[in-house]
Symmetry: C2
Subunit: 352 residues, 2 copies
């Protein structure tokens, strides 16, 4: 089964509604930038690379919808679309990376004679760019998988957190892409999946993806990972990331930091699957990356079932920072960066 | 509000049904040992000290119910009652400690002339012993509170895990008893409560207890604790325990170990509130303490809402082991034991 997290169909974007998986499997349609921004904010689509791809399509949709307007109205609409998409979620840098690419493409096709190209032609160019970003994402994930799978031994029991799978990307996945590539290379891999409260991406999405492909997967609650490490039941940790700062600090789903500290204590390698689009060289360290606080109802329970005592205060930070010194290696499409630091990341961007 | 987790009423034991808190508050009645054992296994009552008190009443109830039988039938029934209670849950040592006390009392009142005392007289002696264990538990918790509250500074933000409160004991609580005593001493204390998957004792029970008493409490998911420590939002960790081995290793609710490792990294004191009845000097180290694996449906979701993907394997260890070297101090009714080890625990039992 090939999971198509996002697909282009009859002039609109369709995205799997990840809020209702695994009990329901349905696509929702999107026709403009504001709708896509709402889909990102409400987590119909989530996962840094998938958010980037969705945002790119959001810009293209807006352009297509406005292509019969005057060039001035069209230009204003694209600006508004870029703004509303940029405000959807703050932490994952792929969102801003994808919007920047779309903006650059827009500028390029509007030059050298500004406002001479028609809105319709610009819209087609933006749609082509979005298709390109989507296709590239899958290719990048396969390249990361090819590099990363070499780090996993035959028989490895791999802990992962949240969902960095096909559902978090245009396809194949980042962390789960590494696992898929190891399995494709003939290795016997078993996965331990943290359920990942409060949104339960591990229990709902990672478990679902892996069960579809007959990759052995065992679900645990987030607080069991340390016990399993202490028992010798985990050989490696592989996670995705929403943003990596220039010094190699990794921002990822809340709880990742605790896993990294525990893995360090137990000398278990801690790998981060990370396309170059997720590395933000403009931010020096993880503590400067904005951490989204989401609605407290997510912590109060799940969906319509609220179990928390009435009157309790609640916090809901969605991400945390893992310092670079706890990261054994970043797995990128250009290769593996061991013990990442600023120098090694700068070299990575310079290399071919 | 004074929370009576267990109460004796009209010749039977009544226990708050902790499975349905906080949405429902109800007592369930118990009239014999097998019923109490089922209540313990199904977690109507939970928390090591409360389990011990419940088991003591279970023996007394069995004796009362069988007091009109022949002494042989009565004796067999008590033996069966002790066995069924001992088999209810494996990890909390207070269960075995309470059953041992009841057995010793039984032997004492049946001697020096075996089988001359009437079943009715023995049953009354066993009921008196159960009442004694219950009353002692509250007194012990208040003594722990008095010792432990000195460790908390005015303004302290205290992280706790699971529920080691009034609901885990006959009253006052162990870890929450320390917090209650600090508040009673005039200190401003705020609590951060881990929700504690899968049974959600933190979200349902700890939050409920503290909201009742207007002690400020903030709920988080278990995977957020490390982030809050890294942000400097936690001043101390206080937890309860289900069994402490002779070397000072602490077995407690799954996830405790991860908190201890993180607290150590951030130089945050990690305190364990621990009545002497929870220390098992017959077991040398934590790795020899049996860790209960509970039914996997607890992890699949909560109550009747199952969110995990179909076909995923599941693990559900209910406890983990925190090595003694991560424990800043044990708080007991006889005083505070810093950096616990076998020698210090032996001295503790010898001291007056």
């Amino acid at each position: 089964m090939n999971i198509e997290t996002l697909r282009w169909s009859e002039g609109r974007l369709e995205m799997i509604d990840q809020r209702v998986l695994p009990s329901q499997f349905r696509y929702l349609p999107y026709t403009n930038a504001a709708e896509v921004a709402t889909g990102i904010r409400d987590m119909v689509v989530r996962g840094a690379p998938a958010i980037g791809v969705a945002a790119a399509y959001g810009v293209a949709l807006e352009a297509l919808q406005q292509q019969h307007q005057t060039i001035e109205q069209f230009t204003q609409a694209i600006h508004r679309g870029l703004d509303v998409l940029a405000a959807s979620r703050p932490t994952a840098v792929n969102l801003f990376w994808a919007l920047k690419r779309m903006r650059q493409r827009w500028v390029a096709v509007s030059n050298p004679e500004p406002h001479t190209d028609s809105p319709a032609a610009i819209a087609q160019a933006l749609l082509a760019e979005a298709h390109g970003i989507c296709a590239e994402d899958i290719a990048i994930n396969r390249a990361m998988g090819a590099h990363g799978e070499k780090l996993l031994k035959n028989g490895a029991r791999v802990l992962t957190h949240c969902n960095a799978g096909a559902l978090a990307t245009a396809g194949h996945g980042t962390a789960l892409g590494v696992i898929r590539s190891a399995v494709a290379a003939g290795k016997k891999i078993s996965v331990i999946a943290d359920e990942t409260r409060p949104f339960l991406q591990g229990a709902r999405l990672t478990a679902w993806e892996l069960v579809q492909e007959n990759i052995p997967v065992t679900l645990i609650t987030d607080n069991m990972a340390g016990h399993l490490m202490a028992q010798g039941d985990i050989d490696a940790v592989v996670v995705g990331t929403d943003r990596v700062s220039a010094n190699g600090d990794v921002v990822n789903k809340i709880g990742t930091y605790m896993l990294a500290v525990l893995a360090h204590r137990h000398r278990i390698p801690f790998y981060v699957a990370c396309p170059l689009s997720t590395i933000d060289m403009t931010i020096l360290s993880g503590k400067d990356i904005p951490i989204e606080e989401r609605h407290i109802d997510e912590v109060r329970g799940f969906r319509n079932l609220h179990w928390a005592a009435e009157g309790v205060a609640i916090r809901n930070p969605a991400f945390d920072v893992t310092p670079a010194d706890l990261v054994t290696a970043l797995i990128t499409e250009k290769g593996v960066v061991s013990q990442p630091n600023e120098q090694r990341l700068r070299e990575l961007f310079r290399s071919n």
